[in-house]
């Protein structure tokens, strides 16, 4: 286990100890709620992990490197940003997926674009958002998010 994960474990367990001592009922109920949330996406998580196994076996790292590696970064970044916009999977599930691509040698720029649009731009949830906040708000928020996802991705590429 790496240091960061260890730190999170320690913080969480200490907090849990205090929480149980202070209000056991409240703590257990909250755990039930997030347990329910987790159970809802458990099937998707397992599905994604199994899919990663398939991808890594069938698509050799060299191919991944060539496809989303150095070869035309701008095009692949925009494509990944579009892919992220139309996909609706929990980010929690997306991290292992993109990590497997990065491990295989993919450039991080398209990966960051995908991660950001995946959660911030919602084509699937557009009708819901429009109903609550109106067309103008929804259009502007989603377009800005898409544009900034590209900016963040390019900046990440420069910094890291």
């Amino acid at each position: 286990m790496d240091v960061f994960t260890l730190i999170f474990w320690v913080i969480t367990l200490v907090w849990l100890g205090f929480s149980l001592k202070k209000d056991k009922g409240k703590t257990l109920q909250a755990i039930k709620m997030s347990g329910g949330l987790m159970k809802g996406i458990a099937g998707d998580i397992l599905g994604i992990l199994l899919l990663i196994g398939l991808i890594l076996t069938f698509v050799p790292p060299e191919t991944i490197k060539a496809t989303i590696g150095q070869a035309n970064e701008v095009v692949s970044t925009v494509l990944f940003a579009l892919l992220g916009s139309i996909t609706l999977i929990p980010a929690f599930v997306a991290f292992p997926l993109v990590a497997s691509l990065v491990d295989a040698g993919a450039s991080i720029v398209p990966i960051v674009a995908f991660l950001t649009t995946l959660t911030m731009v919602g084509v699937v949830t557009f009708p819901l958002e429009k109903r609550e906040f109106g067309l103008k708000f929804t259009l502007i928020r989603n377009s800005l998010s898409f544009a900034f996802a590209l900016v963040i991705a390019l900046a990440m590429g420069v910094i890291l």
């Binding site: 790496d2 960061f4 994960t5 999170f8 474990w9 969480t12 849990l16 929480s19 209000d23 109920q29 909250a30 755990i31 039930k32 709620m33 997030s34 347990g35 329910g36 949330l37 987790m38 159970k39 809802g40 998707d44 599905g47 994604i48 992990l49 199994l50 899919l51 990663i52 196994g53 398939l54 890594l56 076996t57 980010a91 929690f92 991290f95 292992p96 993109v98 990590a99 497997s100 991080i108 960051v112 991660l115 950001t116 959660t119 911030m120 949830t125 109903r131 609550e132 906040f133 109106g134 103008k136 708000f137 502007i140 928020r141 800005l144 998010s145 900034f148 900016v151 990440m156 890291l160």
Partner: protein, 242 residues
């Protein structure tokens, strides 16, 4: 049979992947075990992080005083309001659409357009449990740099959106939607945590991944349990007209 059907429908993605594995087993049996082996590595990583995320999400929802933060919106605009918006988004759980009804409620309390954008974006991309997962899989350095850049972008987006969109551009609250009883529930935004069905099983039931109302009849004492369920709902989708 209906149980099986709903299970199939809820796990459509998993089933497709499993079918792909069956196909691999038949047509490329030498790739079957390596695929499972590759999967196993990521399963192990996931198991290291999942309990922490689960517990931390629970602790946040139990102890972060969301009501206090939400009530502060009415009076505070400017920097302080934006900071509260950022905190509220950071300490949340569930996908972005779960934030829609919460934001709608905050708008009616007087939150600004900029702050709504800040909540929605923070909730979507950089909430705390997500940052931990990101750090685990992509490294702490990646997570920190992305967090800083995204935070800057979110505040800028909030400002820009408020320049283009004015409060009168938003649709009026259609709160009085048709209900034939004291309870109303907007299942579109249900995140499927099942808490309402656990707290008030006489009135709510999980159908598939969404909550639904099974009874509009109130017996003495039901008011309290229902009020509790309304308050605990992470997406704030239950309305109770008592």
């Amino acid at each position: 049979m209906t149980f099986l059907k709903s299970q199939l429908k809820n796990n459509r993605f998993l089933i497709i992947v499993l079918l792909a594995y069956v196909a691999v087993g038949i047509f490329a049996p030498d790739k079957f075990l390596p695929s499972l082996g590759n999967t196993w590595y990521y399963v192990k990583e996931m198991l290291l992080i999942m309990p922490v995320i689960l517990l931390l999400t629970s602790l946040i929802s139990a102890w972060v005083p969301k009501e206090t933060i939400e009530n502060a919106f009415g009076q505070n605009s400017g920097i302080k309001g934006s900071l509260f918006a950022f905190l509220l988004g950071s300490f949340s759980a569930g996908p972005i659409y779960a934030a829609f009804p919460v934001c709608k409620m905050l708008l009616s309390k007087g939150a600004s357009i900029a702050n709504i954008v800040i909540i929605l974006s923070t909730w979507a991309v950089i909430k705390i449990p997500m940052l931990i997962t990101e750090s685990k899989f992509l490294g702490p350095e990646f997570m920190v740099v992305r967090w800083i850049l995204t935070t800057l972008a979110i505040f800028l987006m909030g400002y820009l959106t408020s320049r283009f969109v004015k409060p009168e551009d938003l649709p009026a609250d259609d709160e009085a939607a048709a209900t034939d009883g004291p309870l109303a529930l907007n299942a579109d935004y249900c995140v499927g945590c099942g808490l309402c069905a656990k707290i008030a099983p006489n009135h709510f039931k999980m159908v598939g991944k969404k909550a639904s109302i099974i009874s509009q009849t109130l017996s003495p004492g039901d008011g309290l349990t229902i009020t509790d369920a309304v308050a605990k709902c992470p997406a704030r989708i239950i309305r109770f007209y008592n």
